[in-house]
Symmetry: C2
Subunit: 365 residues, 2 copies
């Protein structure tokens, strides 16, 4: 799309090394739009930044960065949204430090959709990932965009669930929007760029750096009406996101688990501090004030119930094929073929020793 004529000025200010977002907001507050800032005599700007930063403003290096960003933004599906744009997400305007620029790749209309954060551990359990995907799918089907951080584990499962539903998904990156991190999620990132939205406040090409991720987390919560933590250790980045959510006045939700699971400790700690314990997506939706779920499809639930035969006789403990034949009154062929189907469908997992165990799907809200 055609760039906003003032975009070059926004980029010039934001890409000047040493000129951080808070200095930029001070400049905008004092002088108005970036074009007005840049029209000022440079000496006037020294009240807001060091002489070295003022000098950098008009450097060749910054000019080149601006040119590259404008070139990037001209490509289809790419957009740079500024604080002054109508498309800037309203939810972010409520937080203390909204980023001046957002680099977006994908369906920018998602910035206007009511959203829910679904986050959790990178080292999630299989059950945790299954829960994340199921909650995200149901929340997405209710019309919410699912926001997460493109990390391995819970984040990736949440994005996949969001993509599978009507509300789609939004990945907020701690790198430049053109950098895929972690690389194992490259395919997922490509799918999100096609069907959802990749978003970052960091300049193009920004590599992964530990200190950028907590900063990024405030956007994950800031974009949303609430933050669901699926599995989290103590301490963990997900708890940082949840803390931002609480500070930003968003609802915080947590899924409980065994008191012996290290990955439930973070969720339990949140519940002790006032987060809502949730057992289903419906529990989450019930707490989102002013949000009315739209067009609930019942197909997923119906599909889930079709498999109930073998699953029901499996119970919740590891079990072998012989026992299943006996319980279901089926032949070994029938049982193994059904087990394979359920395994491919992520409903059953194979354990060492020829045992199988149910992998529960989350109750669908």
């Amino acid at each position: 799309m055609m760039p906003d004529p003032g975009l070059a000025s926004w980029l010039q200010l934001s890409l000047t090394p040493g000129l951080g977002p808070s200095s930029l907001r001070s400049l905008l507050k004092r002088f108005g739009l970036p074009q007005a800032v840049l029209a000022r005599k440079r000496a006037e700007l020294t009240a807001f930044m060091t002489p070295a930063v003022v000098e950098a403003l008009d450097s060749e290096r910054v000019a080149q960065s601006v040119a590259r960003a404008l070139e990037w933004a001209a490509a289809p599906g790419h957009e740079i949204v500024t604080l002054a744009d109508d498309t800037y997400p309203k939810a972010l305007l409520e937080i203390g430090d909204p980023p001046p620029l957002l680099y977006a790749h994908g369906d920018v209309s998602l910035l206007q959709r009511p959203a829910i954060a679904v986050v959790g551990s990178r080292n999630a359990t299989a059950q945790g990932e299954s829960n994340a995907a199921q909650f995200a799918k149901a929340l997405s089907d209710a019309g919410l965009a699912v926001v997460s951080g493109l990390a391995l584990g819970i984040d990736a499962a949440a994005h996949r669930g969001g993509l599978a539903g009507r509300g789609s998904t939004l990945a907020v990156l701690g790198t430049g929007v053109d950098v895929v991190y972690p690389t194992r999620n490259a395919e997922l990132a490509a799918e999100i760029a096609r069907k959802g939205l990749l978003l970052s406040e960091f300049p193009l090409g920004t590599p992964a750096a530990a200190h950028n991720f907590p900063r990024r987390n405030r956007l994950i919560s800031g974009l949303t009406r609430g933050c669901l933590v699926v599995e989290a250790a103590l301490p963990s980045g997900s708890l940082i996101t949840a803390r931002f959510a609480a500070e930003q006045g968003r609802e915080v939700f947590a899924i409980p688990g065994s008191i012996h699971s290290p990955l439930s400790k973070g969720c339990h700690s949140l519940i002790k501090s006032g987060a809502k314990l949730v057992e289903s997506a419906e529990d989450v939706l019930a707490e989102l004030s002013g949000f009315r779920p739209s067009g609930y499809a019942s197909t997923a639930m119906e599909t889930a119930n079709a498999d109930i035969g073998l699953l029901a006789v499996m119970g919740h403990d590891p079990v072998d094929v012989d026992s299943l034949c006996e319980r279901a009154g089926w032949s070994a062929e029938q049982v193994t073929s059904e087990l394979l189907r359920l395994e491919l469908d992520g409903r059953v997992t194979a354990l060492p020793g020829g045992l199988y165990q149910r992998l529960e799907k989350a109750p669908r809200g």
Copy 2:
């Protein structure tokens, strides 16, 4: 011990068919102690009961019941405590409908000890029973008497944990105190009579009847400062106890679990309604205002840590012996012998197919 000289009058009133606890309390309120009630002209009593009941008061049948109860109370370890006795538990005086009489078998001094209810499902999981025993042991060691209902499952495990600690245990029965129900807990009941206390408000010989158990549950909560629900389905008797606890101004605690476990649904429902989510006995103790845990022994924790070697490499999923040998760098003999020891110690459970899985002990508060 020598019976209170007025005890026969208490018994005569309370054992008269048709004269319930609330009528009895009305009589006491009007006339004073039971002896004073019985000194009244029978015609005067018809304002409080039907003529048939008045007639029954002086019947041979009631006289025989009184004689049998007095005989029972004269045996060592037996005691009938009335509302007028100094030994009547103070906590029960706070509830709306304190029973006029308590039949006690065991250490009556436990009625004066600060107490905590630990309750849950009869059809508990192995992990749930282990949690119940560990929480109960730690709470008992902190000086609390553990109160439960002598049911199978969580109740039985809670009593065992209480017996293993310093604070002992108190079983409140829904039958006569001389009736053991369920019979599978006969040995446990005998041990509680020796080292703890069996307690009932029901006349001697009262058999198990469904409607008496919810009524009994109000005493389980009423005797305590708080009620911990370990595992509970929806709906369940444990939730009735928890509701009584909340109505009586007691703290309610619940242990969370998987959102897919039917036995966690009751606990999650309680937490959603305001019960405290607890992960350890320490969490419970921290909430019991005015109760200061006494003489914490650290031995149990030290013992628990000694086994950490093989347990640590077991992780939390089912695993076979070969994998354990590889992970621990031990011989198969070493691993199997250690597994047996851990199994006997209730730390590990054997699954079909030659697999083993950790059975977690609750974090000790």
